[in-house]
């Protein structure tokens, strides 16, 4: 640690997030390292260290001989200010070495509203922002994560993207770089070669042409470059790398616990959900392997909280076998086991009851829409009966609070659907009155409405986002309607953030200059209320002559070339179109386990079969 940092650290909030030195941090002898990777997460330490993907790839890269992967997070505003004041460039936690000295600079991007942090981190690092300004083989900047499924707004700043799951492709990419460095390749040669790795998308090899109406007229790949880049998946999760020696943060983070991912993919097909579609196909992990990894992780880390994670944990086939083994182990070792993302089915109810004798977890439902009609449109397989009967069981078991999550602005939504949200909340309240064992404490219903954001690679990828004023009208209508209902607290999201999320999620290359300008104007930490400034963004759009509504509210034509058409996540476009039609007809699609809907993602599997 430098003297300068020693002066700065006592003056900033939570300095331990800038020092590194945690248990299981990987340190290597710099003299033995051939490839240095700065692994950047475009949010704070507390958020980034909670991210399982980050932990996996940190382990994957550091398991490679001659490669040292070090972590970099977004500094909080007070630290950023101190860095600028003192001319201290962004550094990596493990060695304290400036990011600009690294060979590869990798970003994991899971949230559109972290885009300003990416650019700001490159600025703080003193690394040229745009790919074309970085001409040498050092400072190759690339990214993966779910936002790479439409990377177009970011292409000016990145040399390439790694699509899909990175356990295998990251090794291939870093190994290729090792070779390139040893043999003294130039950057164009490295990019040509890295593009040959399946799952790698090099945007500079594709030219976007626009028509007179502003839509994309053509996406033209360079000679010899395939029309699309296909995401990678891991077929055999049992044998895939899993970090049982996790870094144990010395300071508190958002999810301060061990995290075990029980399977990948989702059988549900909620039509608004990007993860549910883009993370297909379903791949299982055996309860036996999971149990072993849980025990190893808990014993190595000394952590006393374990979460089973997935997109829908009730759909994990071996959930009963796994929890039967884990519960006694956790009880014995005083480990708190939490199982979020459970559905309102019988087994899940019993499981919740068994988990309950450790610590009372919260009761949360995400009906997303108030009316059954609209829930059918979005294919959210959750009925009012299921919600109310689960609530009845929980209230009879002593629960007095419940959280309910909704979205406003879903396709085909009418005022009737909006008011149905209030009716559903009132029915939950009535269920409490009929079933609660201890009414003295009163009921607390926390209901929240989000502003629907259409996402790429979903059946709703063509949809319009509701105009902001109309969203606010509907939200206020609901707020007013629920004002006098006792025990109900209703909140709705600030629409500005969701508007920008919609723009970035479906943006094209013309968004890049806006990002750059907004960061110049001071945009950063947009995911944090205290720093988010919509005015900055509106000014950046204005100055760049870009209309955000063009991306958010216009809606895309079914025949139109979509900015993310180059990215193949394994789904057939006609499947997404079919699902869109069914949505408009109010027809649900059964879950994949009840019958294959033909999304096409099983074609990504070479050896295994889809485990839906």
């Amino acid at each position: 640690m430098t003297d300068l940092l020693g002066r700065i650290l006592p003056t900033v909030q939570k300095p331990a997030r800038y020092t590194g030195g945690e248990y299981n941090e990987i340190r290597k002898d710099p003299g033995q390292v051939r490839v240095n990777v700065a692994f950047c997460f475009p949010d704070t330490y507390e958020i980034g260290m909670s991210n399982l993907g980050m932990r996996i790839l940190y382990g994957v890269m550091n398991a490679m001989e001659g490669v040292w992967c070090q972590r970099v997070f977004t500094p909080w505003a007070d630290m950023e200010e101190a860095m600028r004041r003192n001319g201290l460039p962004l550094w990596a936690l493990e060695s304290g070495r400036p990011v600009k000295d690294f060979d590869l600079i990798a970003f994991s991007i899971g949230y559109e509203m972290s885009y300003s942090n990416i650019l700001n981190m490159l600025r703080l690092a003193g690394v040229p922002l745009e790919a074309r300004e970085r001409t040498g083989l050092s400072n190759i900047v690339f990214a993966g994560g779910v936002c790479a499924f439409n990377p177009e707004p970011l292409v000016a700043f990145f040399d390439f993207f790694s699509l899909g799951e990175g356990e295998e492709s990251t090794v291939e990419i870093v190994s290729l770089y090792d070779k390139a460095k040893a043999e003294g390749w130039d950057k164009p040669r490295f990019l040509r070669e890295v593009a040959q790795i399946p799952g790698v998308y090099v945007p500079s090899f594709y030219r976007h042409e626009y028509g007179a109406d502003g839509t994309i007229a053509a996406i033209v790949p360079d000679a010899g470059v395939p029309a699309t880049a296909r995401k990678r998946i891991v077929e055999d999760l049992d044998n895939a790398f899993f970090p049982t020696k996790m870094i144990v943060p010395s300071t508190e983070i958002v999810h301060d616990r061990a995290n075990l991912e029980v399977f990948r993919g989702c059988i549900r097909g909620c039509r608004f959900c990007q993860a549910g579609f883009s993370c297909r196909p379903v791949r299982k992990k055996s309860a036996q392997v999971l149990y072993r990894q849980a025990v190893e992780t808990l014993e190595d880390s000394g952590i006393n909280e374990l979460t089973l994670s997935s997109l829908s944990t009730s759909d994990y086939r071996e959930l009963e076998a796994l929890t039967d083994k884990l519960l006694p182990y956790c009880r014995e070792r005083r480990v708190n086991l939490s199982v979020p993302s459970l559905r309102a089915d019988n087994f899940s109810r019993q499981l919740t009851a068994r988990l309950q004798n450790q610590r009372k977890s919260s009761l949360t439902f995400a009906p997303e829409a108030g009316s059954q009609r609209l829930r059918d449109v979005i294919n959210k397989n959750l009925t009012e009966e299921e919600i109310l009967s689960s609530c009845a069981v929980a209230f009879a078991g002593g629960w007095n609070s419940v959280k309910l999550y909704f979205m406003l602005g879903l396709p085909t939504e009418t005022e009737e659907d909006v008011l149905a949200i209030a009716e559903l909340i009132e029915k939950v309240a009535a269920t409490w009155r009929a079933n609660a064992v201890n009414k003295k404490r009163g009921l607390r219903i926390h209901a929240a409405a989000a502003y629907f954001v259409p996402k790429p690679h979903t059946p709703f990828q063509w949809e319009k986002q509701l105009p902001m004023e109309e969203y606010l009208r509907r939200a206020r209508l609901l707020k007013e309607r629920l004002r006098n209902v006792r025990g109900v607290e209703f909140n709705y999201h600030d629409p500005a953030l969701s508007r920008l999320e919609a723009v970035f999620a479906r943006g094209d290359r013309r968004i890049g200059p806006v990002l750059r300008r907004a960061v110049e104007l001071g945009a950063r930490l947009d995911g944090w209320d205290e720093y988010f400034s919509y005015e900055i963004w509106l000014r950046a759009f204005r100055e760049c002559g870009v209309d955000p509504d063009y991306y958010a509210c216009r809606g895309f034509g079914e025949e139109e070339i979509l900015p993310w058409d180059t990215i193949d996540v394994g789904l057939k476009k006609d499947f997404l179109l079919r699902e869109r039609r069914r949505a408009y007809e109010g027809r649900t699609t059964r879950d994949c386990r009840a019958g294959c809907a033909g999304c096409g993602a099983d074609a990504l599997l070479k050896e295994a079969v889809c485990d839906a």
Partner: protein
């Protein structure tokens, strides 16, 4: 009840008290040394630190009391296993049984270093020495609700000022650390407040040793 003496320095100084408690609890778990837990609705591991320390302070003399489930290994083995499970900056120095009662702990010896980037001002040593000979010296003390003024003179048993380098002064002090207590960093605050013309560019604090009322070393 077992007691460990440990140091917290280097990167460890940026850990808050809560961070340190969590770190120690996890280190016991990793070391295969299960702590007993308190009775009650939310059982808590039985570990406690004698003198919680503010973030940024270093120490060579922290005390940690704990109780292990089942038969405890030898003190040396506990020390070595914990050190393997800890992080750089926190080190167990020794482990022993039957430490003295914490309420008999009274005094803390510490070194507060004042750093002057453009060299120690002439006569600073003398001015500071005079300052601490005053009858009263009210300094702000952080408290949970609002800052309060505290006269630190009665809490300083001994203090010596000396120049330790071209740009460094050291205040070596023996101060009360229990009922009532003061934070040695208040010594630097007093300089800032009453001698603004020789306000240092930076100040840091290192805890050196603990004593009882009679100034016998406390362990």
């Amino acid at each position: 009840m077992l007691r460990a003496q440990f140091s917290k320095a280097g990167k460890g100084k940026y850990l808050s008290h809560l961070d340190l408690m969590r770190l120690l609890q996890r280190a016991f778990q990793r070391a295969g040394l299960p702590l007993t837990h308190t009775q009650g609705f939310t059982p808590r591991p039985s570990v406690s630190i004698a003198l919680p320390m503010s973030l940024g302070t270093e120490s060579l003399c922290e005390l940690l009391d704990f109780q292990l489930e089942g038969e405890a290994p030898s003190p040396e083995e506990i020390r070595d296993r914990l050190n393997r499970a800890l992080v750089p900056g926190v080190e167990i120095l020794r482990v022993y049984e039957w430490g003295r009662k914490i309420r008999e702990l009274r005094l803390l010896e510490s070194a507060v270093t004042l750093e002057y980037d453009r060299g120690v001002p002439p006569e600073a040593v003398e001015q500071i020495a005079v300052l601490f000979r005053r009858q009263t010296l009210p300094v702000e003390k952080k408290s949970k609700s609002c800052p309060v003024e505290q006269d630190i003179i009665p809490l300083i048993r001994r203090i010596a000022v000396r120049q330790t380098g071209a740009g460094e002064l050291e205040l070596r002090a023996l101060t009360h650390c229990q009922e009532p207590s003061m934070n040695p960093m208040q010594l630097a605050q007093a300089v800032d407040r009453y001698l603004p013309e020789i306000r240092p560019d930076f100040a840091r604090c290192l805890r050196l040793a603990l004593y009882d009322e009679q100034e016998h070393e406390f362990y």
